[in-house]
Symmetry: C2
Subunit: 194 residues, 2 copies
DNA sequence: GTCTATATATTGATAGAC
DNA sequence: GTCTATCAATATATAGAC
């Protein structure tokens, strides 16, 4: 895959991110060398430093853009019944998690390899995502259609439960994605007392 | 913390494991050097190789003994009502997870750094632990005290939910452990349709 | 924008003295 | 059982040519 000189900036950047995401998720941040990432893309190691200040910033970019993508993609309508909104959140979260299992894994696993500043930034984004779910539970309580004594704890519990699908779900396995969503919806509906 | 020559084999072994567990959980397996572990214990790096074949075997020992401890500590009584057994499992799992958050974190995150053989061994132990929970759900269905259409999926969902407490629980935070258990018990009871 | 070449540091693991 | 010393490999990051 060795290439001669030549500029391909528009595609090299995304390729670097794709390779880094895949390798970091598979082997762990510290276990992956810049040389490995470069080799996967088909450039030399030094070239990576035209796209990222250093290895840590590359990881931070991956986590930040993942959370920003999620927040941008989630569309909620507070005027709808809370149970409908909860069902939509569940479908959204499971689908996006299964679409991007590597980014999800990294987001939970590699926060510790960020600088304090970057870590705080990602944590704030994640908090906004959690708040989006908690808002639904609070609305359900107000409506009287849910019974959730501690909405903050329930939020953390439900997100952990839903994200857990990435631990065991395998494409082409026993269950397709719609079936998984249906089963989890039964569990979640019961958990919130609906 | 430099020490002179002298044998302290009985305490050095556990100290190495403690230091490795703490450092691996905090920084990641690949990010931690044998020299760091040795420095934490107060011995020289070469000494570690009297206690472990290599770095990977040290990680495997930590994960294996963690799962074996869990399996040995969990005492179930199949003659009791399934809901009582489920409540006991929940208390056991949350308590042990919060007692040993580093081992729990490692067990979920660092499987990828094991050899295929070691990984299969740990996976088998984890599977036994999951089966212990699923047996309770199956019993609940049979009794008619629970409604769990897919006991395998519910098992994975509940374990992910319960283990998630290690992501946010902080000693001395808003909630004490009993309160956490009480809130999660409400969620779990609802999820299994009881 | 990408390359080659390299400095500087650190790694996992081993050999042999005590 | 622990130490010192060291090998060989590999790491991140930078400088300068093209």
């Amino acid at each position: 895959m060795a290439r001669t000189h030549g500029s391909r900036a528009e595609i090299t950047g995304p390729l670097i991110r794709d390779a880094a995401r895949r390798l970091f998720a598979r082997h762990g941040f510290a276990a992956v060398s810049m040389r490995q990432i470069a080799a996967e893309v088909g450039v030399q190691a030094g070239t990576l430093y035209s796209y990222t200040a250093d290895k840590q910033a590359l990881l931070a970019d991956l986590l930040r853009s993942h959370m920003e993508d999620l927040l941008a993609a989630w569309q909620d309508d507070p005027s709808r019944p809370a149970l409908d909104r909860l069902r939509a959140f569940l479908g959204f979260h499971i689908q996006t998690s299964l679409e991007r299992p590597e980014a999800v894994f990294l987001s939970y696993m590699e926060l510790r390899n960020l600088t304090a500043e970057n870590r705080a930034q990602i944590a704030a984004l994640r908090r906004r995502y959690e708040d989006a779910l908690e808002a639904i539970l609070i609305a359900g309580e107000a409506e009287g259609t849910m019974a959730v004594p501690d909405t903050r704890l329930a939020t953390m519990a439900l997100i952990a439960m839903l994200t857990g699908v990435t631990n065991w779900y395998r494409e082409g396995g026993r269950l397709d994605q719609d079936r998984v969503v249906a089963v989890y919806w039964d569990l979640v509906r019961g958990a919130v007392g609906a």
